[in-house]
Amino acid sequence: MARLPIRVRPFVGESQAGYILRLAMRNGFMKPEDIVNKKVFNLAIRNNLKKADINNISSLI
């Protein structure tokens, strides 16, 4: 299972895209697409992630 060593949690009121960006940067990645695919990140930009996507991101930490 894919895991990231820095386990950052979402801030209260943080956007989904903001959280993914922060998670990627704290783990040393250059761009969010390194940890989620582009389609998922586009959904996150609209704050419209599906439950399965949220679970997938949660399982990384």
Partner: protein, 322 residues
């Protein structure tokens, strides 16, 4: 960086050392000082240079690395794990990115892109080494990243190690079979001139099998005696048994551990009982042959002594001739 890193650790010093021929084989004494643990500790403390430890398979390199790493346990914080000493055991490594990915995996990062460029993987690694407060990296089985010939790939690997050592400012201890020495001696293009990894490394050290009939050997056997729940052996009471164990294992940690792992747990009262149990264990663990060194009917104490002398002579020759 911790200031109170112990120079010596009794657990390690009790059974591990680098054999310097003039100190150990010829005098056959052991002054309780572990050169290996001191070598690692000095590199860990000073942080200026890296190191290379080599030794044949089974001599105890990995065990030493793991034991040293255990002295600096990881601490789990809410957000991350702090890893003071990072232990990496290399598997087959075909590219510099592959090498960096294996170090990243040891840090707990399993999100990888196989098409990632070496420089982005290195940047990510440097970031995580800093985040996780890594003070020392021990890379075991380093020969795995070297191809059979010193071609471009070997140079790329050496250059990748140099990049890691230079940019991370964290010392690296490479461990591997004697073949691994090649990595620090390889010349490669660095900047405008030819460079070698060796200028960033202290002199390499080789871990050798323990000589027989010395305190180091008794300590080594007793480490496994206690580990597997048996009583200590002494030179006075168990000389023949210690010699037979030596012949069976050639003074190698790997074989000693394998032999003891097959010993039936029991309260052995005397040498004869031990020898019978070791004879069975040897058949399962090492070799099922007629020249079992624990077969007291075939090999008596005098023959054992002679075999020990032969083994010691061979060990001396390996030191003399490199």
């Amino acid at each position: 960086m911790k200031n109170n890193i112990p120079i010596k650790n009794s657990f390690i010093t009790s059974f591990l050392y680098i054999v310097f021929p003039q100190r150990y084989v010829y005098r056959k004494t052991f002054n309780e000082e572990s050169f290996v643990s001191e070598y690692i500790s000095k590199i860990h403390q000073n942080r200026n240079y890296s190191g290379l430890l080599t030794g044949v398979s089974g001599v105890g390199k990995s065990y030493l690395a793991k034991t040293y790493t255990q002295q600096f346990p990881q601490s789990e914080l809410d957000e991350k794990n702090i890893i003071p000493v990072l232990y990496v055991k290399l598997g087959a490594t075909s590219t510099p990115t592959d090498l960096l990915h294996q170090i990243l995996m040891a840090l707990g990062c399993t999100v990888m892109n196989s098409k990632e460029r070496p420089y982005t993987a290195l940047e990510r690694l440097l970031h995580l080494l800093n985040e996780q407060s890594v003070e020392l990296i021990i890379i075991d089985e380093v020969q795995e990243c070297l191809p059979d010939t010193d071609g471009i790939r070997a140079q790329q690997m050496a250059k990748q190690f140099a990049g890691l050592v230079d940019k991370a400012s964290i010392p690296v201890i490479l461990m591997g079979t004697p073949l691994a020495k090649r990595i620090i001696e390889l010349a490669y293009k660095g900047g405008d001139k030819e460079e070698q990894l060796s200028r960033r490394f202290l002199a390499p050290h080789q871990l050798s099998p323990c000589p027989s009939q010395c305190l180091a050997w008794i300590n080594m056997v007793n480490f496994y005696q206690l580990k597997y729940g048996f009583n200590r052996l002494t030179a006075q009471s168990h000389k023949d048994l210690l010699n037979r164990i030596y012949i069976a294992t050639n003074g190698m940690h790997g074989l000693l551990n394998k032999l003891y792992a097959q010993m039936l747990p029991a309260d052995y009262k005397n040498t004869a009982q031990y020898i019978r149990a070791f004879e069975e264990a040897y058949k399962f663990a090492i070799r099922n042959s007629e020249d079992n060194p624990f077969n007291a009917d075939m090999i008596n104490a005098q023959q054992t002594e002679r075999n020990i002398e032969d083994l010691d002579r061979k060990l001396k020759e390996t030191f003399t001739h490199g």
